[in-house]
């Protein structure tokens, strides 16, 4: 029987929640990397026992961890202890350096700071890890300050795809409240050269040549909080989702507004419809019904919690515009948590399971596509990210 493994990154460590396909009885593993911020964990689509984790700290910087046994043990690729060091240099590990080399890189340019002045790119942390569906040693990392890195040796060495940071619009990108993060990386399973990324606050971009060149894909977005509301870049995109079985159709939760694109991001239309508020962070797509999408409406950009203290998921079965409230099993009152941008995921079981985590430390599951919800855990540290693996 299939089982699921839920990878939860929190402010104070990582947790792995496992269950059989019924998704009613759960085992909680962890904390792993206790006391560290775990921005994201994600498993390889080719080898589910291979999981990557972004371990980070304001004191000690960025660590990349990898497990090859489904999360039981972890190691830093290239970081193994050398009992008697020799003259040879140790292999690289945990090293994220913007590529400014003449053959492949771009000069270290500047971006817009909060006060409108220009500010140099400074690496801070990895927000999102995206393992390749084609090669198990290939993995991408979206980082703050916004850039995309790639490893082809299982996370030991990382190289920036500098064409993105070097895009001519870079001086107009600016940090959102969480920093200038590249938080979304979507690999097109039907075209290895096509990658979508999103940056807060620059917008969405697409490459069709494996990351050499990038195109802003923000036409149709309207952001009244920037000087030109329809500018090519500068939009605070919170998250983008795609059903891998239907590449080219994208759904976006923007700062305000829920959007969709049917042409690989070239054009976007608003699908907020009857949502009670279209501010939010997460968005995801049902594993088997590509027109069924989920969001968690948040009151406003100033008040990051559900409306009226009632935690609700909203589902559209029509690809947007017509939304239904999903409430069964979710808190009815006094709930003032947030659901952060990478904290929702779907499994691939026949009856698709939906998962999300909150800043209050709860992780909820719906084993029936959103009709009914139950908490898996109540009291973890604030949840930063949720991913799920469906294990055959």
């Amino acid at each position: 029987m299939s089982k699921v493994r839920v990878l939860v990154g929190t402010h104070k460590g990582a947790f792995i929640l496992t269950s059989d396909g019924k998704r009613k009885n759960w085992q909680v593993g962890g904390p792993f990397f206790a006391g560290w911020e775990i921005y994201h964990m994600k498993g390889s689509p080719l080898n589910p026992d291979r999981i990557y984790a972004s371990q980070t700290s304001g004191w000690f910087g960025q660590i990349m961890q990898r497990s090859d046994d489904g999360g039981k043990t972890w190691a830093i690729p290239g970081g193994e202890t050398v009992p008697v060091p020799g003259p040879e240099a140790a292999p690289p590990s945990n090293k994220f350096v913007y590529d400014v080399s003449p053959p492949s890189g771009k000069p270290l340019t500047t971006h817009q700071w909060y006060d409108g002045t220009q500010h140099p790119w400074e690496f801070k942390r990895v927000w999102h890890i995206e393992p390749s569906p084609a090669h198990s040693d290939t993995v991408y990392a979206g980082v703050e300050d916004a850039a995309l890195f790639k490893s082809t040796d299982g996370g030991q060495s990382w190289h920036e795809l500098a064409g993105l940071r070097g895009h001519g619009t870079g001086p107009h990108w600016q940090p959102g409240a969480g920093g200038m993060c590249l938080h979304t990386v979507i690999l097109d399973p039907s075209d290895p050269d096509r990658i979508y990324i999103a940056i807060s606050a620059a917008g969405a971009f697409r490459t069709d040549d494996g990351g050499k060149t990038w195109k802003p894909i923000n036409k149709g977005l309207f952001s009244k909080y920037i000087p030109d509301p329809t500018a090519e870049v500068g939009h605070c995109v919170h998250h983008v989702a795609m059903n891998p079985g239907r590449p080219g159709v994208l759904f976006m939760q923007k700062h305000w507004d829920v959007m969709r694109s049917d042409d690989a991001g070239d054009n976007w239309t608003k699908i907020s419809g009857n949502l009670p508020t279209d501010f939010g962070f997460v968005i995801d797509v049902h594993a088997h019904q590509p027109e069924t999408i989920y969001v968690v409406p948040i009151k406003s950009d100033s008040e990051h919690y559900p409306l009226e203290g009632r935690l609700r998921v909203y589902r559209s079965r029509t690809g947007g515009n017509e939304w239904e409230e999903l409430a069964n099993g979710l808190p009815e009152k006094d709930c003032y948590v947030n659901v952060l941008r990478d904290a929702m995921a779907v499994d691939a079981l026949d009856e698709c399971g939906i998962y999300f985590g909150t800043t209050g430390g709860q992780v909820y599951v719906s084993p029936d596509g959103g009709d009914n919800w139950a908490p898996i855990v109540h009291d973890l540290p604030a949840v930063l990210s949720v991913e799920v693996q469906t294990i055959p």
Binding site: G35, W59, F60, G61, I63, I76, V82, P83, P91, S93
Partner: protein
């Protein structure tokens, strides 16, 4: 042997308990200690000093013999008590955050 006391999270990362003892070329300097530390524990590269600039990370401090050595040149000789192993070199994280 130079004795180095790491902060808790770096001891966990390096999977060591207590102090670390390192062979460091004479005369020992902060740079020499960190080079030896990172050669033996490659997972610590980038955690104490920046990968590229090799500058101390802002929220870390270096103490030894009741002195703050954080702002001393990295190539300055360390105190005799550190060089002889009588006292440990202490790397400490700033007390901040939640």
């Amino acid at each position: 042997m130079i004795r180095v006391e790491l902060p808790y999270h770096l001891r966990t990362l390096a999977q060591v308990k207590g102090e670390v003892a390192l062979d460091v070329p004479a005369p020992p300097t902060m740079r020499g200690v960190l080079d030896a530390l990172e050669a033996r524990f490659p997972m610590l590269r980038g955690t104490i000093r920046d990968h590229v600039t090799q500058q101390r990370r802002p929220f870390l401090r270096f103490f030894a013999c009741a002195q703050d050595l954080s702002h001393e040149p990295q190539d300055a000789p360390l105190p005799d008590a550190i060089a002889s192993g009588r006292e440990p070199l202490v790397i400490i994280g700033a007390i901040a955050g939640g």
